[in-house]
């Protein structure tokens, strides 16, 4: 058994967290078959504190203070910067503004091991939180559609898993710190989102005025009503559209949604009881109680979350890395590789390649490299589950004909497939190229057009490589 040390760093609107986890990799197939290396265990070996995200203004992150928090957690966990094998920095919610992202990256760059990814954006957070909360695992184990609502300080990230697969994701500006209350019980800050809701329900809010529980409860009930609409439990109002987080996906509902799971800081107040509504100086407690009263908790089976406030950081630290198939082919000395854009061939284009015709690939690759202003790309396709040897030879020929004339010299030809056929394909491509340029051919990886891929150093006697698929990068 071999383990990979992974770090997760989540910088959200209200909290910043760090965890370290160990991903255990093992051959799960028997003695008498082809090996199958999988991640068999994910163990969180260090859970850091829950820090308030340091801000310079009400929306601008204090990068230097974030760095101090992360440095302190590394030290407490007993790890040196750069010692981690993989992981993710996730900058989420209202913090995920471009200027914030750049600031954070600048300050954290030396903590990121050579293989740490940096991702941001509401869609990613939704998925990562849903994996960290255990909703994805529940969906897969029970074969049902589950929605995870990660209700943080600034946003509610929703994701639907059906049988463990993402079928919908979206984000609303609904969160616990959209109105904050100071120690003396006066309203301190009212977000744009809260202003819209207050106006909609006819409650007058003014910073500096005393916070009235009944007013704030009405606002929270309306937030809960918006979430009901979001989940298709009632007719959508104009408010639902107004609260959609800019840049988030259109949320596609699942026709057979069975269960709901809550994570994020507010989840603790949905699941538990918290007497003092303003203990945390915000509307998180009231919002949690309002959601608990709503139809969301009666219309769907409510399942417990494995992680609530830490769901995103746990998801980031443990669920972003996967391993390739165990029969792959690659030239030595290429890894790690970061942020390689994906050029995906559809079924028709793939069929042309399987027939030995590389012209389609050549045109598409040339266009793609020019469009994206990049030197190379991963050629991704489904492949076939039981191809004939002739089909593999044709495919190898098409890939070489398509990519070799286009790629700059010494750049590797990189192929990623879904079906288990990468070793034989890689071997064929290498034979055709006669070592003119390096080759990487891996499988059991599902990627979409416009994704990016990181590939780490080979593990387990070089049988597998760790892979991170990203839908967004910055920096």
């Amino acid at each position: 058994m071999k383990s990979i040390l992974s770090v997760g760093i989540d910088i959200g609107t209200s909290t910043t967290q760090v965890i370290f986890s160990s991903l255990n990799v093992e051959n799960t197939s028997g003695y008498f078959t082809v090996p199958k290396i999988s991640i068999v265990g994910k163990e969180i070996i260090y859970k850091g504190g829950i820090h308030r995200t340091p801000l310079r203004t009400s929306t601008l992150i204090d990068g230097e203070a974030v760095r101090a928090i992360v440095a302190d957690e590394f030290q407490k966990a007993g790890f040196r910067p750069g010692q981690t094998d993989t992981g993710a920095v996730i900058i989420t919610g209202e913090s995920a503004r471009k200027e914030n992202s750049e600031e954070v990256l600048r300050y954290l760059s030396d903590f990121a091991g050579e293989f740490v990814v940096s991702t941001a954006g509401p869609d990613i957070e939704s998925v990562v939180a849903g994996k960290g909360s255990g909703a994805a695992a529940y969906s897969e184990e029970n074969g049902v559609a589950v929605v995870n609502l990660d209700i943080g300080g600034g946003t509610t990230n929703a994701v639907i898993f059906d049988d463990g697969e993402v079928t919908g994701k979206g984000c609303l500006d609904v969160g616990g710190r959209l109105i904050t209350v100071d120690a003396s019980g006066k309203i301190d800050y009212i977000s744009e989102s809260a202003k819209k809701v207050a106006e909609y329900v006819g409650v007058e809010l003014r910073a500096g005025n005393a916070a009235r529980t009944e007013d704030l409860s009405r606002i929270c009930d309306e937030y809960a009503a918006v979430l009901e609409q979001f989940l298709g439990l009632s007719e959508p109002t104009a408010l639902l559209a107004a609260l959609k987080t800019p840049g988030s996906s259109e949320f596609i509902l699942h026709p057979k949604l069975r269960a709901v799971c809550f994570s994020g800081g507010v989840a603790d107040f949905v699941y538990g009881t918290q007497q003092d509504p303003f203990r945390f100086g915000d509307i998180g407690v009231l919002l949690g109680q309002a959601i608990r009263r709503s139809r969301i908790c009666t219309a769907f089976r409510m399942i417990g979350a494995a992680e609530t406030i830490r769901a995103t950081v746990v998801g980031a630290g443990t669920y972003t890395t996967s391993v390739s198939g165990s029969t792959i082919d690659y030239s030595d000395g290429l890894f790690p590789l970061k942020n390689i854009p994906v050029l995906r061939l559809d079924e028709k284009e793939q069929s042309a390649c399987f027939a030995g015709d590389g012209a389609v690939l050549r045109d598409k690759l040339q266009w793609f490299l020019r469009q994206n202003d990049c030197r190379n790309a991963v050629i991704a396709m489904d492949g076939r589950s039981d191809p004939s040897y002739i089909a593999v030879q044709n495919l190898a020929k098409a890939i070489v004909d398509g990519a070799d004339p286009i790629l700059p010299s010494a750049e590797p030809i990189m192929v990623v497939l879904r079906h288990d056929m990468a070793k034989v394909l890689g071997r064929q491509i290498r034979a055709l190229l006669a070592d003119k340029r390096p080759v990487i051919s891996v499988d059991s990886i599902i990627v979409q057009q416009n994704d990016y891929i990181d590939m780490g150093r080979p593990l387990m006697d070089g049988m597998v490589i760790p892979v991170v698929v990203k839908t967004l990068i910055f920096g």
Partner: protein, 306 residues
């Protein structure tokens, strides 16, 4: 007394013996009602005939993926479960027995398994691949199945034929054999053999002349290894078929194989078929494995234990 009256009386008696107190008339009317509400004379099939009105190939993948269980509580989940296993789940039942379609599918799969054992590999396939054929000491299929010892040995004449037609003292000698499934050879050999051979050649490893052994058991590779003086011998052989697939092939690989050596010295790669590991990918893997065996100068458990 007609059957209905008799049935009513029996039910009433049973209920009263169990301590209940139901008037016989009430039972009688309930029985009559249930009989009259049933569709007329469903003498054979209770499911409107769909069970036995089979117009599709019931052994096809599509047919096997379709549940025959009526009114499942959650069809989506059932389909998902079925997609994860070739086991016959979600098939429903007729009373205490299998449905007709389930029974016929089982028998069809069993027939395919028997065919795999009893059929011979098509000589046209061997000719197309340029493989000559030799036979072990077995004279027919029945003897092959009942005398495993004869399936491991060759006549002197057969050994001479092998020696005269094959390159000797190669690093690796690969051959194919029917074993217990000729279907496995038909399904996989054309894809796996060139994948292994090309893989080995690209590594600069010399490969002997491939051929075919009829009525062969795994242990026949030891006699072939001795006859040809190869360092590594590899047989691609049909596995005993099951009801899930009749196409499964294995590769048994041994370093410096000798007649009578322990079975533990064989390295095996099994489950090569369209539902397991694809033949082409298995071929590329086996080429690497053989390279490893040649370097380590050992195979089987000795190789596993380092």
């Amino acid at each position: 007394m007609d059957n209905n009256d008799l049935l009513s009386r029996i039910i009433a008696e049973v209920i009263s013996e169990m301590g209940g107190n139901v008037p016989a008339s009430a039972v009688e009317s309930a029985v009559k009602e249930s009989i009259s509400s049933a569709s007329p004379a469903p003498a054979y099939s209770g499911s409107g005939g769909t069970d036995i009105n089979i117009t599709t190939d019931i052994t096809s993948k599509e047919s096997k993926a379709t549940p025959t269980l009526e009114n499942p509580a959650d069809m989506d989940s059932l389909l998902r479960m079925k997609s994860k296993t070739p086991a016959r789940i979600g098939v429903g039942r007729a009373g205490g027995r299998l449905k007709t379609q389930t029974l016929l599918t089982l028998r069809a799969d069993h027939a395919a398994a028997k065919d795999a054992v009893f059929m011979d590999v098509d000589p046209a396939l061997l000719e197309k691949m340029g493989l000559f054929s030799v036979t072990t000491l077995c004279t027919d299929k029945n003897q092959f199945l009942t005398r495993p010892d004869l399936g491991r040995r060759f006549s002197d004449e057969a050994i001479r034929e092998i020696q005269s037609k094959c390159v000797k003292n190669a690093d690796v000698q690969i051959y194919a054999s029917d074993g217990l499934s000729s279907t496995a050879i038909k399904a996989n050999l054309e894809n796996i053999l060139p994948a292994i051979m090309d893989g080995l050649k690209s590594k600069g490893i010399s490969v002997g002349t491939p051929f075919f052994v009829k009525f062969g058991r795994v242990g026949a590779e030891d006699a072939i290894s001795e006859a040809l003086g190869c360092k590594v011998v590899c047989v691609l052989i049909g596995e005993r078929p099951g009801l899930a697939t009749a196409e499964s092939m294995s590769a048994y690989i041994a370093y410096n194989a000798t007649v009578g050596m322990p079975e533990a010295r064989r390295t095996v790669v099994s489950n090569i078929h369209s539902g397991g590991i694809a033949a082409v990918e298995a071929g590329a893997y086996i080429a690497d494995l053989i390279e490893k065996i040649l370097k380590a100068k050992k195979s089987g458990v000795e190789l596993q234990n380092g």
